[in-house]
Amino acid sequence: MLDTLLPILLFSALALAAIGAVRRVRLWRQGRPSPVPTISGLMQVPRRYLVDLHHVVERDKYISHTHVATAGGFVLAALLAIVVHGFGLDSTILAWVLLAATISMFIGSLLVAKRRSPPPSRLSKGPWMRLPKSLMAFSIGMFVVTLPTAGILPEGIFQSGAGWIAALVLAAVIVWGLGEMFFGMTWGGPMKHAFAGALHLAFHRRPERFSNRAGGEHRSTGLKPLALDDDRTKLGVEVPADFTWNQLLGFDACVQCGRCEAVCPAFAAGQPLNPKKLIQDMVVGMAGGSDANYAGSPYPGKPVGEHAGTPHGPIVDRAGGALVDAETLWSCTTCRACVEECPMMIEHVDAIVDMRRFLTLEHGNTPNKGAEVLDNLIATDNPGGFDPDSRLHWAADLNLPLMADKREAEVLLWLGDGVFDMRNQRTLRAFISVLRAANVDFAVLGTEERDSGDVARRLGDEATFQSLAKRNIRTLAQYRFSRIVTCDPHSFHVLKNEYGELGTPETPADYHVQHHSTYINELVLADKLTFKAWKGGSVTYHDPCYLGRYNGEYEAPRDVLRALGIEVKEMARSGYRSRCCGGGGGAPITDIPGKQRIPDMRMEDVRETGADLVAVGCPQCTAMLEGVVEPRADIKDIAELVADALIIKTPDDKATQSKPAPAASRTVLEATP
C-alpha cells in the first residue's frame, strides 16, 4: 500500500506547493517593478546562502549548527525522497544516504525543540512552536519508510498484519511532515522562510551587499535616491503595494527569529517599535488581513490585533488604526542594528525611510520638531535655523584657511553643523590643533558649507536632501583636494555613500572621505604625531552607528586609542553590535516617548565596564551621552584625547615651521583676483 500511496502523497504535496508558490509570487508582484538579473541572481543563491547568510547565522553557534543539520538534512532528504520514493528508484546506496539525511534532520529538530523549551521572548510562538514537531514527523516518517528500501527491514513488512496498522500510522506522520515542509512552505507556514528566503537572496535589492570570489568590502548602506522629477508618481510608500516587489519578497522571507528585536534600541527603550513586528505587519498588509495572528512580542504599549491593512490600503492613517501607527516609524534611529543582525538580509531601515518619505513629502506630517528642522534646513541650510554667515564665528581666533582663498588643499576639512554647537566646537578645535601639529595642508569651506542633508534624508525629506547635496556638490567641484576629512560620521556617510549617485558628469561626487579617527590613525602610522603617556583612568569606546555598521570602521579609532597608550575596556555591545546612542535618524527631533531613554541605556553599558571615560567619535553621540545625568563616565571625542596628549614641538621648531604657512597663504591670497 505504501508503495502506491507514497508517490501520490509526494507529488500531490509538490503540486500543492507549486500552486502556493504561484499565489505567493503574485502577492509579491503587487509591488512596484524593480529590474533584477533573473538567471545570474538565481545562480548566486548557493554562494549567498552558504557564505553571506551563514556568516550572519554563525554569530549564534548553536543555531548555526542546528540549521546546518536541519536544513541540510531536509534538502537532501527531500530530494532523495522524490527520487527513491516518488520515482521508485530502488537503490540501496541512495536509501542509506536518505537515512543519514533524515537522521541529521532529526538531530537538528531535537536542537530546535530544545531551543524552544521554553522559548526566549524574542522568538515567535504560535505556528512556530509546532515546527520542531513537524520536522521530527518528516524525518521520522521518511526514516522509517526508507528502512525496507535500505534492506534493514524486510521488504513488504508493511503489508502484513500489524504492518498494516503501522503503515497507516506512518502515512499519517508523513502527511503531517509533507504538509508542513512542502505545502506549508508556499502557503504561509513557518517554512515559508526557506522558499521566500532563497528567492530573496537571488533578487535582493542590494546585490552589492553580497561577497564574491574576488573578496574586498561588501557593504551597501546608502539610501536609494527617490526620483523627484516625475509629477504623477507619489513620493514614498503609502500602501504596501508601493514597495518594490523584491522589497515585499524580502519581508516575506522573515523567519521571525527576533534577533532584530533583541538589538533594537527603540524596542529596548519601550518606544512603540519592534523591527520584527514591523516586517510582519508589511507581510500582513501585502496579503491583506489583521495582525491578530502575530505570535511574537508586540510594539511596546500597542496590543496586537488592533491593526489591519490591505495591499492597496494606507499603511499609516492619520487617525491611527491602519497597518502601523506613525510613531512606530518615527521611533527608528536608523542605527541599522536590525539589518546587521538579520540572518535573512532584510532591509528594515530602507522600508522605514520609504514610509517616512511618504509621510513627510506627501502628508506633510513630520512629528514634533521635524517640520521646524526641515523648514530651517530649507531656509538657512542648517537644522538650527542659525544665520549661515555665522558658520565660522566659533573659529574667529583660529585663522582657518578657507578653500575660497586657497583653491586647493591636501585635506578638505568638513566641519558639519556641529559648528553651531558649543560642545562640538571643542572637538573641532581639538582636531584642528592635531592637524596643525602634524603640519597638514588643510582648508575649510567656511560659509560655503551647508548641512550634508543627513537629517533631512532620514526624516524622509528627500527633496531637501537632494537640494542640499546638489549645492554642496557644486561647491566642492570648484576646489581641488585629495580627501575630505570630517569629525561627523553622519556627514562622512552621506558624503561617501550617498552623494555619488547625485553627481553629474561635469561635477562627479565620488570623494575619498575619511572619518577623523581614520585620518589621525594615518598620521600616527606616518609618525607625524608624538604623544605623552596616558595618565587618565580606564577608557571604553562607543562605536558610532554611522562609522561602524554603516562604514565598517571599527579598528582605526581603537588603534588611535592604543597609540595613546590606552587599553580599551570593551563594552558587552561593541563593534558591529554597538548599541545606538539614540541620536541618529532624526530620533531626537521626532522624539517619540518610551519608557526609558536610549542614551541612559548606553551609559549603563558604559558603567558595567567600570570605565571612567567614554571615547566617542560623533557629535550626536557626544550630545546624547553627555545628556545623561551624573554620576557617569566623562565623554570625550577621540580628537580631544589626541589633542590633550600631543607633544607640541619646542618653540623654536614651531616658529620655523609655522611661519612659512601664513606667508604661503598670503601669496595665494594675492594671486587670486
Binding site: T360, L361, G364, N365, G370, I378, T380, F386, D387, P388
Partner: protein
Amino acid sequence: MPHDVSNTNAKSSTPSGLNVTVLVSVGRHPLTARARRSDQDARAVEMALTLQSASVSLLHAGQQDSENEEAIRGYLGMGIDSVDLIEQKPQADVIPALAKALRASAAQLVLTGTRAETGEASGITPYLLAEALGWPIITGLAAVEKIEQGTAVVLQALPRGKRRRLRIRLPAIATVDSSAPPARQSAFGPAKRGELAIHLEPSAIDEALGTWHIQPARKRPKRLKIVKSSSARDRFKAAAAKADGGGGQTLNDVTPEQGAEAIFKLLKEEGVLR
C-alpha cells in the same frame, strides 16, 4: 498638533459651506532673505483650513517668476489644490486687481496676514481692500469660533495674551498675526503638483513706488532702560513690568459717535490730521 487636523474640510467644498479666500504673498526669510511662504499668511491659510465646512481658495497678485512660484507653491503644500495668481507688473498697485477679483468671487470671509514680508510691507493692503469693497475689517484674528447666518463670532488677539470676542457681519476681511496658531508643514509632493491658475489683469502702476529706493530693513538697537536700584527685586520688577503708554485712555460703553470723536481728537493732537 495642527498637522493632525484633517484637511478634508477644505477639499469637500459644499455649495452651502462658507467661502473663504486667503490672500497670500511671497515671504522672505529674516536671516537669509530667501523667498518662502509668508509666516502670517501661512497662519491665515492654516486658520482657513481648520474652519468647519469651509471651501478655501487662495489668491495672490504679483509677478510670476521662478522664485516667487516656489514660495507660492509652499502654500499649496499645505494641502490645497490650486492658487489663483493674478499676474501684475513689479511696480503695480495690487489693490484694484485684488478688489476686482474678490468682488467677482463669492468670498464671504477674506483672511490674510497683517503685513507682507517684502515690498512696502506697510500693512495697509487689507485696509485699502476693505475700503474698496466696503467691508468691515478686523485685525489680529486669533480664532474663528463659529459662523452662522451671515455673522461670525471671532476672537481678536490683544497685547499680552488678552482676547476679545467680536461678532462681525460677513462678508468681512480679517488679518492674522503671530498670535494665530502656527501653520502646518508644507509637503513637497502636493506643492509640486498643485495648480497655479494664472489670470492676466492690467496692472495699475504705482508711480510713486517707482521713485522709491527699497533696501532691507535692519533691526535698530534698542535703548537700554537703566534701572538705578540696588535691590534685585526692583530690577526684576522693572524688567518684567508692563511698558505703560501712560497717556492712553480707555473708552467703555460709548456711542460710535463719541468713539469717533475721541479718535478724531487724538489724530489731530498727534498731527496726523490737520
